[in-house]
């Protein structure tokens, strides 16, 4: 047997290699799937820090004053110990402390944490042990002069004073695994809003006994750090289920990402389970098709041996055993090689493509897959041998096997056509969805290849004859040879399928990559986004604006404020020109029209002084029943007018401070009736300067009159004697709602809660209008019932223009909806343009002009952040930008970048799975090349004999070479072209059904347009490679077609 295998070493090697390829594909699928699963898990765990992965049990003493951290800890099931380290319990309580005599109280947190002193450096004192002991941070000790023995009085949850004594001064040792993002320090030296702005104070560390009685609002938590090394694919699901089922009796809440991670990984595994087998199945199908061809050739070459066997009296069965044993053993030799190749490939993928930490695993699926591959290869050998072994012995004895070329469709061809038709119809009608669609191009191509075989044989005969008649010898001979060769249809079938697979896979990989990049761009917003720790938008904008040339034009400040509801609209504030230049607009949507976001031309009026002066002329009359004649239907005798202040009508201005505070300042009070003139001389009370926002009138609350109507003329505005130049109407916004529309709504008033303009709802009588006063200045004509009615400066519109992505926020309309200003205040906005998505905020955002927000002013709320976005041209890239901004004093909390964001998307089940498509395509190309070699080997003798005969007949060597090359190349190029068409059709049909992301996102919209250039490149590469192989083989045959070949047949 071994001798037989060695005798046809080259052929055996090809059989072994193809069998190995089939086995390696089959074995690679489970290896690759498992590796991707592991990579998904590792990538998911690796992206998160220990604090993100912890399991936290959190409880309060609200319902059980006796509850302690140890009680909560006992509720952790022991079964979870295998996945979590022992818990670290912590008790915290919020209170305040007067840091030093005469100061306002500052908020402070008491913290008692397990083994805390092991993680602190005590510069003085000792670990707290008694109820009254506490540690203060070294920073606070320095700021406030606290020393050992300093007495501090805190208010417990009942408001009772509780004395504590400084027993030590600490500095926290960095240990993320212990602290799990619990930060004791970092607050000292900062200011917090605690009613007033007060200095922040680091946590006080106390003994557990220090937060017992009187601290019923204390929070008790136990944090369990995940043993990531013990979380495996096999244990993840169980761990996730166990955590999800955790229901502590103490009503403690459970906080753990593990169930979500388990679900994510399970979802990813599901995709992998579909994508990988479907992709590999196509490669296996092509490999088996080639194996059929090679096995058929091998059996054909053994015809004389089968004949000898039968000649010497062996039965058909015995002869079959003989052939199948030899060829079967040969293909089985490929199994271990195939498994080894699969393991090697898997190892390569593990080391090069997948993230670190993916273990090597050889599951039971691998030998099973190899066994299935072996059985499939044996079945192919059996199927190839069967027809030959069924031949009568007289046929076997013929030195040339009978021709089997058929011009009609065979049963297998018909089956392929039917399957392809079913597949296409299934996709078009929606019956086939999801990853099954990946099979479409291969099915189409196989059917097309089968049909092409029939067409080419017919056409080649006709065209060949016509060419011969026309004296074109090369073309004629090539055409007739193509029609005659039984292998033509094999070549057409396999090359068509391979070409389709390559073109489709290249497009799929390209489209997927493009969409991942699009999504990454939208996710990041620009090439990179550096999130700062600053809450001061003005300061961040100033830093960026002051960057030197060469850097400044590559960076932009961006602010955003989210709302608590994750589904709410996020405000994105940026400068339109910079946004257009640096940010990435979401693809496949209309471009952003940023003209409407342009900053108003009117400059702000800065009130950087002490006193505001102006002339005020008024002419007002009261309306209503609070005084004067009795209203209709009221007895005049019993009518008692209500109380009315002597001067109930207030006139004032609204200013905004640089911190974003909105302040009102009364500049005059007027009677409810009469005419007169007042000289305004009022303090501005803006030590750091203010921006004039509006002028308003308002009847004081509690007046027994319905309204005051009239007008107020303001002129000669000056600050500390310097004219402000605001008398001109053009510097003011025309109020919405006119005096004529008294009851129709639309009046603009200032919301006392926010200090910002708001639209009145319901029937009102308030209104205000603006006109030029006869004597110069402004005339405010109004009807006021007590609401603040204002006229705003034109440097900031009352309704902020915005570009809105996604749906309109609830309760709003496109013309008017609420957004959060950078100061975190609800602000009316209007959608000047609606788009599907915006950079970074996706489909839930409102883009506004950053400079407008800066004019309005304010510090960011806790849900807001300032970022600096840069483009690729920033000198030094991301690192350079981080360094520069840090040098400018900005704290950089985190950075998003396109490459990193893209990498995160690449490292996904779909990313890796589709990458396999490329591998599949390349391998199938290799298989097709091997097939061409096999075809050349099997038909070589016949071809060279033909060439020799033609040479003897007088055909020139040039014509023969031309004919031989055309005979080999034309079917390959033709099949590659038809295959490419199938690949394109498959791409159009199937791409919408193929999952491109593990977690689909509403935006950006998927861009599934075919990558024509990539597909054309794939086709050209396929055609070139295969045509080159075919040409070389043909030329080789041509050179061997000497007269000796003819003698072999004699």
């Amino acid at each position: 047997m071994w001798k037989a295998i060695r005798y046809r070493g080259g052929q055996s090697l090809v059989l072994i290699l193809i069998s190995a390829l089939v086995a390696s594909c089959a074995a690679f699928a489970p290896l690759f799937s498992r590796s991707i699963d592991q990579a998904l898990l590792r990538a998911t765990l690796g992206r998160l820090e220990a604090a993100d992965l912890k399991l936290g049990l959190l409880a309060t003493r609200t319902q059980d004053p006796e509850l302690s951290a140890s009680t909560v800890e006992q509720e952790m099931p022991r079964t979870l110990d295998q996945w979590y380290y022992p818990g670290v319990s912590m008790t915290t309580a919020n209170t305040d402390v007067v840091p030093t005599r005469g100061k306002k109280p500052s908020p402070v947190r008491l913290v008692a944490r397990d083994e805390v002193c092991d993680h602190l450096t005590l510069s003085e004192g000792a670990c707290p042990s008694g109820e009254e002991d506490l540690l203060v941070s070294a920073a606070d000790a320095k700021v406030w002069g606290w020393k050992l023995g300093t007495a501090l009085v805190l208010s417990d949850n009942n408001g009772a004073p509780r004395p504590y004594v400084v027993s030590g001064i600490y500095t926290a040792k960095p240990d993320p695994d212990y602290w799990l993002r619990t930060e004791l320090q970092g607050k000292s030296g900062k200011v917090v809003d605690y009613g007033d702005l007060v200095p922040a104070i680091d946590d006080f560390v106390v003994a557990p006994a220090g937060i017992t009685k009187g601290w019923q609002n204390a929070q008790l938590s136990v944090d369990y750090r995940l043993r990531t090394s013990r979380i495996t694919l096999d244990s993840l699901s169980a761990a996730g289920t166990a955590v999800a089922g955790l229901r502590p009796a103490s009503l403690a809440t459970v906080d753990s990402p593990l169930p979500k991670i388990a679900q994510q990984v399970a979802d990813g595994k599901g995709l992998v389970r579909q994508l990988v087998p479907l992709l590999i199945a196509q490669l296996v199908a092509v490999a088996l098709a080639v194996l059929v061809l090679v096995a058929g050739a091998a059996v054909a070459q053994r015809r004389p041996e089968i004949a000898v066997s039968r000649l010497r009296g062996r039965s058909r069965e015995a002869s079959r055993r003989l052939v199948i044993a030899e060829l079967g053993l040969t293909v089985l030799l490929g199994l271990p090689l195939g498994v080894a190749i699969a393991i090697g490939l898997s190892e390569l993928v593990r080391r090069v493509v997948l993230p670190p930490g993916v273990p090597f695993e050889l599951g039971w699926q691998v030998p099973l897959a190899a066994a299935v591959a072996g059985l499939a290869s044996l079945a192919v050998v059996y199927a190839a041998a069967r027809p030959v072994l069924r031949e009568p012995i007289a046929s076997l004895l013929r030195s040339v096997p009978p021709a089997t070329t058929s011009r009609n469709l065979r049963v297998g061809d018909v089956i392929l056509v039917v399957l392809a038709a079913v597949g296409v119809i299934g996709i078009v009608t929606g019956q086939i969805t999801g990853p099954m669609a990946i099979l479409t191009p291969t099915l189409l191509a196989l059917a097309a290849g089968a049909l092409l075989g029939v067409v080419v044989v017919l056409l080649a005969t006709r065209l060949g004859r016509r060419a011969l008649d026309g004296g074109r010898l090369g073309s004629g001979l090539a055409g007739l040879a193509i029609a005659r060769r039984p292998t033509t249809r094999h070549v057409l079938l396999v090359v068509t399928a391979v070409s389709a697979l390559v073109v489709f896979a290249a497009n799929a990989v390209s489209v997927a990559d493009r969409n991942r990049e699009n999504r990454a761009k939208v996710t990041v917003g620009a090439f990179a986004a550096l999130r700062t720790g600053s809450k001061d938008p003005t300061a961040v904008a100033r830093v960026v604006d002051q960057l030197p040339a060469g850097q400044r034009e590559h960076a932009m400040p961006v602010g955003f404020v989210t709302q608590r509801d994750p589904d709410s609209t996020t405000t994105l504030a940026a400068r339109p020109d910079q946004l257009r230049r640096i940010a990435w607009a979401p693809p496949a949507q209309v471009g952003l029209d940023l003209r409407a976001l342009a900053l108003p031309a009117q400059d702000p009026v800065r009130l950087d002084g002490d006193r505001l002066t102006a002339r005020l002329d008024f002419d007002v009359t009261p309306v209503g029943f609070g005084f004067g004649p009795a209203p209709e239907g009221v007895d005049a005798k019993t009518w008692v007018p209500g109380p009315v202040d002597a001067e109930p009508l207030r006139v004032g201005i609204t200013v905004t401070t640089p911190a974003g505070e909105v302040l009102t300042r009364d500049i005059a009070t007027l009677p409810f009736t009469g005419k007169g003139t007042r000289a305004v001389n009022a303090p501005v009370l803006c030590p750091t300067g203010c921006r004039l926002q509006s002028v308003w009138v308002q009847v004081a609350q509690g007046q027994a009159l319905e309204a005051v109507q009239g007008s107020v003329d303001l002129s000669g505005f000056a600050l500390d004697g310097k004219p402000l130049g605001i008398d001109d109407l053009s510097g003011w916004l025309k109020p919405r709602g006119e005096a004529a529309n008294l009851s129709g709504g639309g009046g603009t008033v200032i919301d006392p809660a926010t200090g910002l303009p708001m639209e009145l709802a319901g029937p009102v009588t308030d209104s205000i209008s603006l006109a030029a006063a006869p004597r110069g200045g402004l005339r405010l004509s109004f009807s006021n019932t007590g609401r603040n009615a204002s006229v705003s400066r034109a440097d900031a519109p009352e309704v902020v223009p915005a570009v809105l992505s996604g749906r309109i926020p609830s309760g709003g309309t496109a013309e008017r909806f609420d957004i959060q200003s950078l100061a975190g205040r609800t602000t009316p906005a209007s959608a000047e343009q609606r788009v599907p998505a915006l950079p970074f905020v996706g489909n839930r955002g409102a883009l506004v002009n950053l400079d407008l927000m800066l004019r309005i002013g304010g510090r960011l709320p806790t849900t807001g952040s300032m970022e600096v976005w840069i483009d690729e041209g920033f000198p030094g890239g991301v690192a350079g930008a981080e360094r520069v901004l840090r040098d400018k004093g900005l704290e950089i909390l985190s950075t998003r970048s396109l490459p990193e964001s893209k990498r995160l998307l690449d490292e996904s089940a779909t990313g890796w799975g589709l990458l396999l498509g490329l591998f599949t395509a390349l391998l199938s190309l290799l298989l097709a090349a091997v097939m061409l070699v096999v075809v050349a080997m099997t038909t070589g003798r016949v071809v060279t004999r033909d060439i020799a005969a033609l040479r003897v007949a007088g055909v020139s060597g040039r014509d023969l070479r031309r004919a031989t090359v055309r005979e080999a190349v034309v079917p390959v190029v033709l099949a590659a072209l038809v295959g490419a068409a199938c690949g394109v059709t498959g791409a159009v049909l199937a791409m919408p059904l193929i999952p491109l992301f593990d977690t689909p996102a509403p935006v950006p919209a998927l861009d599934l347009s075919p990558s024509w250039v990539v597909m054309a490149g794939a086709w050209v590469a396929t055609a070139l490679v295969l045509a080159a192989v075919a040409s070389v083989l043909a030329l080789r045959s041509s050179s061997h077609g000497d007269i000796d070949r003819l003698r072999e047949a004699w």
Partner: protein, 284 residues
């Protein structure tokens, strides 16, 4: 096993081609005695190889009967034919390489033939004895590629007779051999016939081979055209009374020539009748 007699009666074989049928044999009546050596002669396409193939059970006759020893071939099933070839009929195909398994040595080829289940039931000959008979003992374990054409042909004979068959069929066993090799092969055939009494039937074009055979049968147009015994050629009267004339006689007696059979002391004499030619159109 001793030699097997071969008997055919009215043997017809028609090849079915795509658009027409070709009668390769059109009624062959032939009797070969057990232990006889016979050469089948005839022009290309006469049907001699077809006849040999029918003797080997490789084809089934379209009509007529073939008897090999006690076996009526036309009635035998395929497994029985396989068994017949495994035990009683050795066949040497034209071209030595078609008789041998290329990756085996000569010894292995013989062992392969003797190793079949059917051959085990046969009266096989020790391998060395077979090799000695064909004078290949010293070449027995060499690769076939190192053997000369004559050695390969003798090897093919060795394989065919390794089960000591009663009938040895050879299709052009000496073609493409030089004289020395040809003589060696012929000698081997004679040795086999002499040693085991095997009936030997060979197809040949080579007159020298024919001359070395005790009996020759010339097949012409699918029939037995002539027979030669000890160098003398005879016309053979067929079952329907026709007598195919030898080609050189046929050259002077064109079809349509009238002859007269004249009885004399030596037997029957064929005499051409000298008559005036009938003018065209007046024959009838």
């Amino acid at each position: 096993m001793t030699g097997l007699p071969v008997l055919t009666a009215g043997l017809v074989h028609i090849y079915r081609a795509e658009h027409h049928d070709v009668a390769a044999l059109a009624g062959v009546d032939l009797s070969v005695q057990a232990g006889e050596m016979l050469a089948l002669l005839g022009p290309s396409g006469a049907g001699k190889s077809t006849l040999l193939t029918l003797f080997g059970g490789l084809l089934r006759p379209s009509a007529g009967r073939i008897r090999i020893g006690e076996h009526e071939l036309s009635r035998m099933s395929e497994p029985d034919l396989d068994a017949l070839r495994g035990r009683e009929v050795g066949i040497v195909l034209q071209g030595a390489s078609r008789n041998l398994i290329p990756h085996k040595t000569m010894r292995e080829n013989i062992t392969f033939v003797q190793g079949s289940r059917r051959a085990k039931d046969a009266e096989t000959v020790p391998v060395d004895e077979v090799l000695e008979l064909v004078r290949l003992t010293d070449r027995a374990d060499l690769p076939l590629s190192s053997l000369t054409p004559g050695e390969l042909q003798r090897g093919a004979l060795a394989v065919a007779v390794s089960t000591r068959p009663g009938l040895l069929l050879g299709d052009e066993p000496t073609s493409q051999l030089d004289h020395e090799a040809r003589d060696q092969v012929l000698q081997t055939l004679s040795d086999i016939n002499a040693t085991w009494g095997t009936t030997v039937i060979v197809v040949t074009h080579d007159p020298e081979v024919a001359a070395r055979m005790p009996r020759t049968v010339t097949i012409r147009d699918g029939r037995v055209g002539a027979e030669g015994r000890q160098g003398e050629e005879f016309a053979v009267v067929s079952a329907d009374g026709s007598v195919p004339l030898p080609p050189h006689v046929l050259a002077s007696l064109t079809p349509g020539t009238l002859v007269r059979l004249v009885e004399s002391e030596q037997g029957w004499t064929l005499v051409k009748d000298e008559v005036e030619e009938v003018p065209d159109g007046q024959a009838l």
